[in-house]
């Protein structure tokens, strides 16, 4: 298949500027049974995340006497992609689950809940590039919604190199034909980016382009962070609005 031109007249195929995110929609507390939940759309990605816990861990040998055990399951629904995906975890999902869990683990105050478990389940209902970052954003909101104790908020976004340009939040075509993909997650505390919680990259980029990419990802992450907060505020303001003065 011939690679199409991905940048035309300084705009991307979906009309976006280089530093522009896809539209994002976040809803909080969408599932009754879970302790915390979130539905998130990022472009055509449709993600649902649920958090259970802290709760008892079974079987018992999986417990850690000094801290809570965090589990993260990234799963793609069979209908989420063009060609039906075989249900269940494949190697890609297992790797994504691992690095995503490792992004959340240092942020969750797991030493406060020895022997317990906190489960984060994320389902990709529709995929359109950047699912691991969209999933982490949804998981982060679901964790807050569940009342889990954390140092701050995790926010994630990818940048890509497309036709020689560094662009924010690549969609399907850019991910497929682009030169490089660089998903990142940050710990944000009190409106400030503190550190990198997840970083992967595949493709080809110079060292300077990687640095430029991180700077752009930080800008995008701050915008997503604001939307994550707004969504939670919206949900709980409705409940609290009537609070006595």
């Amino acid at each position: 298949m011939e690679k199409p031109k991905l940048i035309i007249n300084g705009k991307r195929l979906d009309g976006r500027d280089f530093e522009e995110l896809r539209p994002i929609k976040i809803q909080v507390d969408v599932l009754k049974r879970a302790d915390g939940s979130c539905y998130l759309e990022m472009g055509k990605n449709k993600i649902i995340a649920a958090v259970y816990g802290p709760r008892e861990v079974h079987p018992r040998h999986l417990q850690d006497p000094s801290k809570a055990v965090i589990r993260y399951r990234y799963n793609m629904a069979p209908f989420s992609v063009e060609e039906r995906k075989k249900p269940g975890p494949d190697r890609r999902s297992i790797e994504i689950s691992k690095v995503s869990r490792e992004a959340l683990e240092p942020v969750i105050m797991k030493e406060l809940f020895p022997r317990s478990g906190i489960d984060v389940f994320v389902e990709v209902l529709q995929a359109d590039a950047g699912t691991r970052t969209a999933c982490l954003n949804a998981a982060s909101v679901a964790l807050i919604d569940a009342g889990v104790m954390m140092k701050g908020i995790i926010t994630s976004v990818a940048v890509a190199k497309v036709d020689g340009h560094i662009v924010l939040d690549p969609m399907k075509e850019e991910d497929f034909y682009g030169e490089a993909d660089l998903p990142v997650a940050f710990l944000i505390r009190n409106d400030k980016i503190e550190s990198i919680a997840l970083l992967q990259m595949d493709g080809k980029m110079s060292v300077d382009e990687v640095k430029e990419g991180i700077k752009l990802a930080k800008k995008g992450a701050m915008q997503i962070y604001k939307l994550q907060r707004e969504a939670i505020m919206k949900k709980y303001m409705e409940d609290e609005e009537k609070e006595e003065v």
């Binding site: 690095v99 490792e102 240092p106 942020v107 550190s195 970083l199 992967q200 990259m201 595949d202 980029m205």
Partner: protein
Amino acid sequence: MSEDILMDIKRDYVLSKIRSGERIDGRKFDEFRPIEVKTNIIEKAEGSALIKLGNTQVIVGVKMQIGEPFPDTPDMGIIITNAELVPLASPTFEPGPPDENSIELARVVDRGIRESEAIDLRKLCIEEGEKVWIIFIDIHALDDDGNLMDASSIAAISALMNTVVPASKFEVGDDFNLPVNDIPISVTSLIVDDKLIVDPSRDEMSVGNNLFTITSNKESNIVAMQKSGSYLLDEEKFYELLDLSVSKAKEIREILINQLKGGENGEN
């Protein structure tokens, strides 16, 4: 379990050494262990390499078969990378299907080879949309004394550089050397406090598994990166890692090229 006790006991020693600017084996923070490569050690494989990185040993075998291309890349060969952390390599490895660590290992090695375009996959097309070569890269850990990641990457590219495509056996022409255009080199560092320690040994890993792997190609472009481990990384530290990894990769590539020149008969 006894392994865990040893790790716990060693932690304080390793940590205090690192904090005073030293490593327990006397290496500098940015120093790799000695690398030793032997190629073509498995006759049944189309390409193979055994690498020793200090005491860490990994063997990679390359097998080739003919198969159908992926529908979205009908004129390109296929790379399939797999890693087995067999129980013989470490008291902590269990028999069974690949766990997340071996999957991550295989996928990061795979990305380095794939994204550096080290192998010209278009030259592995036999009949567009019908028949292409499939390269199976199988990573077999023999002794895990730390940093299986870099040992596996070096073993994989060494094996590929010595792979002969068995065309005559499949009656599709004459055998030819697998076209390899690049030597991607991964550099894995352990992050301890604010210090970066390249090529960590097993004992050094007792302080934690805060790892970061950066793979670069011969033009010093970054082709793959992976933060691995439950930790938070400072942005400035990351930039330090980038520069460190690229410069180390150059050095390791030179060592590897020299070794492969000298070691054509399996000896150097």
